[in-house]
Symmetry: C2
């Protein structure tokens, strides 16, 4: 069992089921994955896993902040383990999504926005290096 994942579930007050461990491990392995990718990956470990279980757990894992949704134009949402704030490079050709550390990329000029910021997400769409080379 993945100790890291097990502890994470306990810390967030969720029961440690094999299904949850499998789902989180699948996401950790892939970095980012949509529902179908998670389901496929999870089934290699746990063939009897139900798709409905994946949906239900994704929901509760997001509610408990263990997972984060990444909504993407023209694709199904992907999910990632919660980690320190970062941004994404999203390839418009192959759809690949890659984390980037945005800490030094931008400098916030602050400002009064009359809005309580809880979360800042920067999505950068373009063509990744892989795609540039392959064509």
């Amino acid at each position: 069992m993945q100790m890291k994942v097990v502890n994470s579930l306990k810390e967030h007050g969720l029961k440690v089921t094999p299904q949850r461990v499998t789902i989180l491990s699948a996401i950790e392995k892939k970095g980012h994955a949509n529902i179908d990718e998670i389901y496929q990956e999870a089934k290699t470990t746990n063939p009897t896993m139900s798709l409905a279980t994946v949906y239900k757990n994704i929901t509760s894992l997001i509610e408990t902040k263990l997972l984060k949704e990444v909504a993407i134009n023209n694709q199904k949402s992907k999910y990632e383990l919660s980690k320190k704030p970062h941004s994404h490079l999203i390839c418009k050709k192959c759809g690949n999504l890659e984390d980037i550390d945005s800490h030094n990329l931008f400098t916030l000029n602050s400002d009064k926005l009359d809005f309580d910021i809880e979360e800042v997400e920067l999505n950068i769409y373009g063509i990744c290096n892989q795609c540039k080379k392959s064509n």
Copy 2:
């Protein structure tokens, strides 16, 4: 007929149908809207409008860059008329989405990312002023 919308369709090489004019006008009126909101608004003008027509046109309007999708965590995608680059303030309570000019909000420190940037999208989630007051 909305001259602006009609010209926009012509410029993008799309036939000017009443349905398209209605859809674009609905989005322009609302600023941002998801499929259902567009459909509902459009039906007030054109009651025989089919939902499938809305879906089909949203697709071709995006392909021709007349519209832009805004994928949002925990909501259905919204659509907006293409306009100059900007960012969004997204309220996690009421779901409202508001444009902000991000031109002066951040300063890009450039960098070599090995990625051809086509589009940068910054989504800021939080609680809007309205919601802060109402509770």
